[in-house]
Symmetry: C2
Subunit: 331 residues, 2 copies
């Protein structure tokens, strides 16, 4: 018998909101839509936009598949954290400027549907576990490299949340105690080396010291315009310096991933975010650094792969989060 239950997945990020409808048993996402978050317009504007998108996604999905009125069982929401899952409250998000914000209930009440809130990186990890790169493994760790570095840990089919819902904050792992200053105020966090802005900052430092590279031209002479994206473009164009910047990024990331592998001994590490577009320029030196630094039995047991779901991981994972919370473990 066909399962005509569906879950709405909502992925709230600092720059964009993604919403889609996910079949209860997995499958193609329906009614998918994406809009800019525009946090500067205030929290109410963001929540109104989210609710509007949910309404539209449900309407479109109903057209794409024949979903009965009662087919929507609930809404899973992934949000930047830290957050309190029990109350559905976002405790703090510097990017959105929210504090103790009751996001879950503002959506559930408006939509008249049950909702569940979890961290966006946790949701993405659960998405990859359910329908992505990790669908054949028992445990995985997912790292999302973007403006920051987020992490989610899935053990035995469930997100591991820790004692206060903040497990997996891998971006602020110290990899060099007297190293680069991080936005969090500390020195030597992984995020200060391998996030998008950190990759760009490291690249520009070398350019200022006069190294030859196609990067300045790609940035039309304005070094402040160099981004991680510019670095990928330069790699594609064969730029040796950009490749070296990526090799260094891979070494820093490999140090962090080796630590995670030594500690958690996962079957898989899934890397997502724009940086994965560097492909082998990232993954080959990354795996090499991990082999050098990780315990052999742990490194041998772990595959390090790129995300399969890409931007869809958040929406699929948010829906998976709802399903796990209300119906127990995924198949």
């Amino acid at each position: 018998m066909a399962d005509d239950r569906y879950i709405v997945g909502v992925d709230l990020g600092g720059t964009s909101i993604n919403v889609g409808v996910v079949p209860f048993g997995g499958g193609p996402v329906l009614g998918m839509r994406s809009m800019p978050t525009e946090p500067g317009r205030g929290a109410k504007s963001v929540v109104d936009r989210m609710n509007g998108m949910i309404r539209e996604a449900m309407r479109d999905a109903r057209r794409e598949a024949s979903i009965p009125e009662s087919g929507y069982v609930g809404i899973g929401i992934g949000s930047p954290g830290p957050l309190d899952r029990a109350s559905g409250t976002v405790i703090e998000t510097p990017n959105l400027g929210w504090r103790n914000f009751p996001l879950r209930d503002l959506i559930a009440n408006e939509m008249g549907l049950d909702a569940v809130l979890d961290n966006d990186a946790n949701a993405a990890a659960l998405g990859e576990y359910w329908l992505g790169a990790g669908k054949d493994v028992d445990s995985l760790l997912a790292l999302t490299l973007g403006t920051g570095i987020g992490g989610g840990i899935v053990l035995g089919g469930r997100v591991y949340h820790g004692a206060s819902d903040v497990a997996g904050e891998v971006g602020h792992m110290t990899i060099d105690p007297t190293g680069r200053r991080c936005n969090c105020g500390n020195y030597g966090c992984l995020e200060a080396y391998a996030s998008g802005p950190a990759i760009a900052a490291r690249a520009v430092e070398g350019l200022r010291s006069g190294v030859a590279s196609a990067l300045p031209e790609l940035a039309e002479g304005d070094l402040s315009e160099v981004t991680a994206e510019t670095v990928y473009q330069a790699i594609v164009a064969g730029d040796l310096y950009a490749k070296e910047v990526m090799r260094e990024t891979a070494a820093f990331l490999g140090t962090g991933v080796a630590n995670l592998i030594n500690i958690l001994n996962p079957a898989m590490v899934v890397i997502s975010g724009g940086v994965t577009r560097a492909g082998d320029h990232l993954f080959e030196p990354l795996r090499g650094e991990v082999r050098r630094r990780a315990f052999r039995q742990a490194a041998d047991a772990c595959r390090i792969v790129a995300s399969e779901l890409g931007d869809m991981a958040g929406v699929i994972g948010a829906a998976a989060t709802y399903r796990v919370e209300r119906f127990g473990e995924l198949d």
Copy 2:
């Protein structure tokens, strides 16, 4: 009705073997004994000694309590790893010189009792969780600082083993990618800063550069005789340099513990080993470094404490390991 079931706990270390009899429901260890391991005399000699100690511990315990012949349900064994739990085999222990050694069955067959094998650091962590510092928490991470640095992770009443039984190898976490060389061949492992031999080595380096300290006198003028123990003695005697060495040790250890707290968000970190005798000279700067480096929500949720069971953690934990494997979660 009194529970007259008992479990034998065996803690095999590089320098000593500890064996005792643990009541199924917890309680004082009976028939406790400790002997040197003397690995140089060969694997057979070590196993014969272990079996002899188990026999004696069971006999003595039967005298101390009135244990029926059928009262011994099984044997839990904690051993240096890595090991394969399913086959009960020690894959490799540099300290004992063993490789693919079927320790569990060599004991089970000789004693005619069912046996279970796990990593010694995992056993110690489960011991602290069951009857020690962690008896009121759901999740903990236990670090044992000795010749090396071992770690064990307990989540929801069970040891978390990972994909290939080597989760918790925290000693080889990189805290400084270009730092001190570790015995494992890498650079900047936590173990290269905060193990007993590393503490001694760092202390001696300062002494060779001419710093004033009571340490040379305590080592009778022979700096090669300085050990972590000598550093504790000097601290007790009020030596400022020894206190500084401990403060640095605490900072390195705090960097590693902050990483673990960011990743795992445990309710408790339990530290054991000789280094805890430094008391506040260790724990105060350690907690300070963690507060500086860890995510606030994670640091606030985590107590960092000294082991309560001390040398008994291994024996109690080995018995607990048996109980969990065969009878499910502890109370």
